[in-house]
């Protein structure tokens, strides 16, 4: 006899619907699974056999073949346990209503259903492919429900699942919880940072225009705190973006550390000892998303930028240019999303005390030259804003001056500036503008053009530096609500250009 069920495989952060076919034929008792499977799926045979028996059904003592189609797509993971078991039971003659239904889940030997990773991207792909009803492990029901138009059933065990499908004991469809309160994460507030007006201004500009930012300052100047504060001035994610982010976290099984309903942009701060696979994504088999993808639609903070191995920094180039990462393996390639804003921090020199007022710098001229060369190069070309962060003076930290601005106030300005950019740039932020699109969008006033020309000559700006200044000036004009880029905008933007190593 023949029966079918629908499951789902993962390719990058996209789900691919998979048809699970079961054929029961006469012959010696045998159980094979074919269709480019990995070890976990081969082991599914043992789990399925035990679960079916322990659920009180009879496991067929005949020749049983399972095919996972499309057969040329590599498949991995334990999410096929449930659809395989359902297909097996169907092939034994159980009447299950599988119309428009898909199932994912891992089986335990006692027939209970365990959680799997990647349910959200699977649910999105299945819905797009026409699935109306999705059976998922109870734990994963919440994330599957984020997908609109899908009837989600959280199943605790295989017998409960069968009871639901043959109509004998229907389970309650998981209800869309009455608008789950948007989960919040603890964020630093800009008002907690004392002083440092230029760094704060740079944060605001970076947030408004989506620019990459480099902070240069001695140890203990508060660069990490500033980076955390930058997330707090980013506006909430749009619903679609939040779903994309949740899909990545679902893949990593990391929805516990970041709830699927969270609308705040993610903040990732990998340490410089991170492996390449950890940063970019990868691992055995098909790729797992790395830190770059976990920072999707949010912020990636690289502290001690110069301590990162050069090869890792090189791997940032593709995501910074294309907003995604392609990982090519012999079994195929996957594209992972990686649209993040980069915030980097570096010491001004190897010892960190260059031109420090209280401690002499001990770096030799050669060391210094080598170090500063590391700060240049292709990565530096993608960083529009450079801001020096001085050591905090004790007196400043405890000064009772004017009250500092709260993140919420800055966030309002940032949101308004982003609105203006999206309207003008057809959805893009200023940081993504290049060449003609950038120049056309600027409408510089005469004074601005003159200032740019003077600066280009006196400061020996390269063409790339010129474009960086123009992008930042455009954002400054947007923050002010001005259609045209004025002389003042260019003047301010020039302060954040940073010095290029000769």
């Amino acid at each position: 006899m023949f029966a079918m069920a629908v499951g789902c495989a993962l390719r990058g952060v996209a789900g691919v619907p998979v048809t699970v076919e079961a054929d029961l034929a006469n012959g010696l008792p045998n159980f094979t699974v074919v269709g480019l499977t990995d070890r976990a799926i081969q082991e599914a045979r043992e789990r399925v056999r035990a679960a079916i028996s322990n659920a009180g059904f009879e496991f067929p003592q005949r020749r049983l073949t399972i095919n996972l189609a499309p057969a040329e797509l590599p498949k991995e993971g334990t999410a096929f346990d449930l659809p395989i078991a359902l297909a097996v039971l169907g092939s034994c003659g159980k009447q299950l209503d599988m119309r428009g239904t898909a199932a994912v889940g891992e089986l335990a030997l006692d027939a209970s259903v365990r959680a799997v990773v990647g349910v959200l991207p699977m649910a999105r792909a299945l819905r797009a492919a026409g699935t109306r009803r999705l059976l998922v492990p109870e734990v994963n029901a919440a994330e599957a429900m984020l997908v609109e138009g899908l009837e989600v059933v959280g199943v605790p065990s295989l017998p409960a699942c069968v009871g639901h499908l043959d109509g004998s004991r229907p389970l309650r469809t998981a209800l869309v919880a009455a608008a789950p309160p948007p989960a919040s994460v603890r964020e630093a507030d800009l008002a907690d940072v004392r002083g440092q007006p230029f760094a704060k201004r740079a944060l605001e500009i970076a947030a408004a225009g989506g620019h990459n930012l480099l902070m240069v300052g001695p140890p203990g100047s508060g660069k990490t705190m500033l980076a955390q504060a930058l997330v707090s001035v980013l506006p909430d994610l749009e619903v679609d973006d939040a779903l994309e982010v949740a899909a990545v976290y679902s893949l990593r099984g990391a929805l516990r550390e970041r709830p699927a309903t969270c609308a705040r942009p993610p903040f990732r701060a990998p340490h410089h000892s991170i492996s390449r696979a950890g940063l970019v994504g990868g691992g055995s088999g098909l790729a797992q998303p790395g830190e770059l993808s976990l920072a999707h639609r949010g912020m990636l903070f690289l502290d001690e930028l110069c301590e990162f191995p050069r090869s890792l920094l090189e791997s940032l180039r593709q995501p910074l240019e294309e907003r995604s990462i392609t990982i090519v393996r012999s079994r195929g390639s996957v594209v992972l999303p990686a649209d993040f804003a980069l915030v980097a921090a570096a010491n001004p020199c190897p010892c960190g005390y260059l031109e420090d007022s209280r401690r002499a710098c001990t770096c030799g001229p050669r060391e210094l030259a080598v170090y500063q060369a590391r700060l240049s190069g292709p990565l530096r070309d993608r960083i529009d804003l450079v801001v020096p962060v001085p050591r905090q003076q004790y007196a400043q930290l405890f000064a009772t001056g004017a009250p500092e601005e709260h993140s919420a106030q800055v966030r309002d300005r940032v949101s308004a500036a982003r609105e203006r950019q999206r309207a003008r740039n057809r959805g893009a932020l200023n940081a993504a503008l290049e060449g003609n699109r950038l120049v056309d969008g600027c409408h510089p006033e005469a004074g601005a053009t003159a200032l740019l020309a003077t600066a280009g000559e006196r400061l020996a700006l390269s063409a790339r530096a010129y474009h960086r200044v123009l992008r930042v000036a455009r954002t400054l004009a947007d923050l002010e609500g001005s259609e045209r880029v004025g002389q003042g905008h260019v003047g301010e933007a020039l302060r954040y250009r940073g010095e290029e190593a000769a």
Partner: protein, 302 residues
């Protein structure tokens, strides 16, 4: 004369720089690469490898003026002041000689390869070390005495008390060359050596004309009317204006913009515009760590 072939010049042979004979023990031979004969009257401009941004500007300004006046600039191709001296001389349209502490075919430091190539086209590279000789610490003092011998005057721009530039100055004084120094602040270690030279009798340089006045061999040369690549500097803003107050605060040494914002109660947007204006006007320079410092007309290179 070939641009790439290294010529070996035996002592007393054709093209032997006569001033080398002033040395107590001149080298037996030197190797030379490049286009310009190092026998012309020349001024050495030397200083520390580790130096301030302002000192780089001063060096470039000074050597641009020398280059424009047709004076050859000699230096050691090191990082810092030496490199700036060569660059300035070439930018001023003059020629420059690099005296190396390694073989003529070795480029040290490697970062200066483009600069060395420029020197080979419009200046020259000279050494007493045989081709292939790698740079060694003990070769540089030897090299310094060659620099001292080849020039008519040595200008030390910025040097700590341990800097090799002081050994060049000492050799120059022994050989009867003029020794000049650019005064620096007394609070900083990196200008202590050059300041000490002034205390010991070196001529302080406050503007380019001082070099021409102090060195008899250059007395006949006309100071170029305008330094190439420079423009007129706008007048200093009145002390009562915000820009003037920025300059006052930045006059005492490099100060961070955050501190300026605090002291002047200006928002960063406004202050950033002021600083850019002053920087482009040549009143302020930015330092490596992002601080700003007010400078006089000559120090700004204008």
């Amino acid at each position: 004369m070939s641009h790439d072939a290294a010529r070996c010049i035996e002592r007393g042979g054709v093209g032997w720089p006569p001033r080398l004979e002033d040395l107590a023990r001149p080298p037996e031979r030197v190797w030379l690469r490049g286009a310009v004969d190092p026998a012309h009257p020349a001024v050495a401009v030397v200083g520390a490898r580790r130096c301030s941004e302002v000192a780089i500007r001063v060096t470039e300004w000074l050597t641009r003026t020398l280059g424009a006046a047709g004076v050859q600039v000699i230096s050691g191709l090191a990082l810092g002041i030496d490199g700036a001296a060569h660059r300035g001389a070439l930018a001023g349209g003059g020629s420059s000689v690099a005296v190396l502490g390694c073989g003529v075919d070795v480029c040290y430091p490697r970062q200066h390869r483009p600069l060395r190539d420029a020197l080979l086209a419009r200046g020259s590279v000279l050494t007493e070390e045989p081709p292939g000789q790698q740079p060694q610490p003990w070769l540089f003092p030897k090299r310094n005495r060659l620099i001292a011998a080849l020039c008519v005057a040595v200008v030390v721009v910025e040097a700590s008390e341990r800097s090799g530039a002081l050994s060049t100055a000492r050799h120059a004084a022994d050989l009867g060359r003029e020794v000049l120094a650019v005064p620096g602040t007394i609070s900083s270690e990196i200008t202590l050596g050059s300041n000490r030279l002034i205390q010991d009798g070196a001529t302080p340089i406050l503007e380019a004309a001082d070099v021409f006045a102090a060195v008899p061999a250059l007395a006949g040369r006309a100071l170029p009317a305008g330094v190439p690549g420079s423009t007129t500097r706008p007048p200093r803003p009145a002390p009562t204006t915000a820009a003037g107050r920025v300059l006052d605060l930045a006059a005492g040494g490099a100060v961070h913009p955050d501190e300026l914002a605090l002291r002047l109660a200006l928002d960063p947007a406004r202050l950033a515009r002021l600083i850019t204006e002053l920087e482009l006007g040549g009143h302020l320079v930015s330092t490596a760590s992002g601080r700003v410092q007010a400078v006089t007309a000559s120090w700004s290179g204008r």
